[in-house]
Amino acid sequence: MIRIDRAGHWFRPDRWLFRDLSFALAPSEVTAILGPNGAGKTTLLRAVCGTLSLREGAVNAEAQIGYVPQALQADHAYNAIDMVLLGRSRYLGRFNSPGRKDKARARECLHEVGLSAVAEQRYDRLSGGQRQLVLLARALASDCSILVLDEPASALDLANQGIVLRLIQRLARTRELAVLLTTHHPDHALGIADKTLLMLRDAEHLYGPAGSVLTEENLARMYGVPVRRVEVHSGDETISAIVPLHGLSRTEPASIANG
């Protein structure tokens, strides 16, 4: 559906953010990108969406991409339904406004994320979680088959993180979407991702099935902090969680950094 081929990029020629990066997204599959701050996660997403041209390599997308930015800014005073309607823009000519069908589609997508009740409320007066869902609905309204999300859960509280992530996982299955998201939480990747890409320091990376890539060694190497992977049993469900060993035991993380 979409293939990233030997991608490489830098902002300063002496420092590659990533290089020789290749992976593919398949329908109904969730891929998570993890990496420390400044590792180039957002840059890679921009390259995938085509808003940034790579120094090396290529992105071959065979289908429509829907992009969900972080809902940090709230300076748009449009109604929620109109924000979703903006997702229809790629199908509208320069002098066209959305018609009846576009509006119906937007209502459908807002309903799909469970926000029909706030359709006529202003986007900038919604909560952070609701704004994130509106932006998700906006991407869905563009009838995309690839969904790219920039830290969809980072600004949300625990309950909303669960709602948004479960919704993303469900959409991937029911709509057969290829999903690519970045996150700072290895737990989220363990929870919903099929494949995981770890962006390490020095332009290195690891890519593979989420379960086998998200090991204690790899995560410790990536973040420069020792971590433990623990399993929590809740009823007949087993939940994997990653626990960083900083702060609590007062060990100095700096001594472990960079292996």
Partner: protein, 356 residues
Amino acid sequence: MTQDLVQRQTTFEATPINPGAWLPIALYAGLSLALIAALLWSMASGRYQVPFTHVIGILAAHVMDVTPTWTPTERIVVEVVRLPRVLTAAIAGAGLSLCGAVLQGLFRNPLVGPQTIGVSSGAALGGVAAILFFGFGIFVQFGAFVGAAAALLAVLAIHRSDSHSPILTLVLAGVVVSAFCSALVGLLTYIADPETKLPDIVFWLLGSFAAATWWKLLLLSVCTAIAGVVLIGMRWRINVLSLGDEDARTLGVHPARDRLILLTATCLAISAQVGVSGTIGWVGLVIPNLARIIVGADHRRLLPISTLMGAVFLVVADTLARDLTAAEIPVGIVTAIVGTPVFAYLLRRNATSKTP
């Protein structure tokens, strides 16, 4: 259970009875009536009072048989002196407010207007240069357009060099370019021949509809109509562009070309207004903000409402400028007296809303 109830209650309260259906229609109808009333009032009032019924009769006589109850002088005052003037004021106000709303959307900044962004000053400079070197006529129009476009390019060039506080830099870049243009206008008026050119320039710069003629009205109407069709036609695109370039691109819209079209149309309308009646400030800044408070930020509604409100406002302002004192005061002074306090209020409102 209680929490669920509280939640439902707030949702219910925050969702008013959908005003979407009737509000715009009532607004359009109300504003259209207000515009007609303002036009008639403007034609009736002045140093030479013409009764309201006579004004209507004089205008109606063009389309149907009306027994004249008015004097020939009244007819000349209404048809030759006042009609082109009030129509010019209405179209100029409409164009300025429309352009202001578009610029505010494009630059994601409610403090932007034809004047704050330097376009009006650039047009004034171009117009003065045209009067000085070529004399009055179509050259003024052309000079104003070139000046407006050059000023806008300069503002964008300064703006692009600093992306840290885009809202502030844009306004400051406008101030800088305006100051530069004003200095050049000062230089040109200084070297202009005080016997022949200077009175023309000074009178034009003051900003007035007193010299309105059918020919100027035609020129203004054509330019404003072309710009208006483009700008209102692209109202949804302005919604997309107002999200910022990155978002617009991911939504499948290429911002650069759309913005060029919109800015060119804006320059056309503003320079046409400046060419016909000199710089008139504050209309294009204040009216779109008032319109936004009434109908919200969606440009599908904001642009037409702002256009209508601007037309009403400038007709009223021009009538006041004509009638308040024995000698006519320039309309730019009236719009500034009304506009500056409103602008100060908006500035404060904007500052407080940005820091919750």
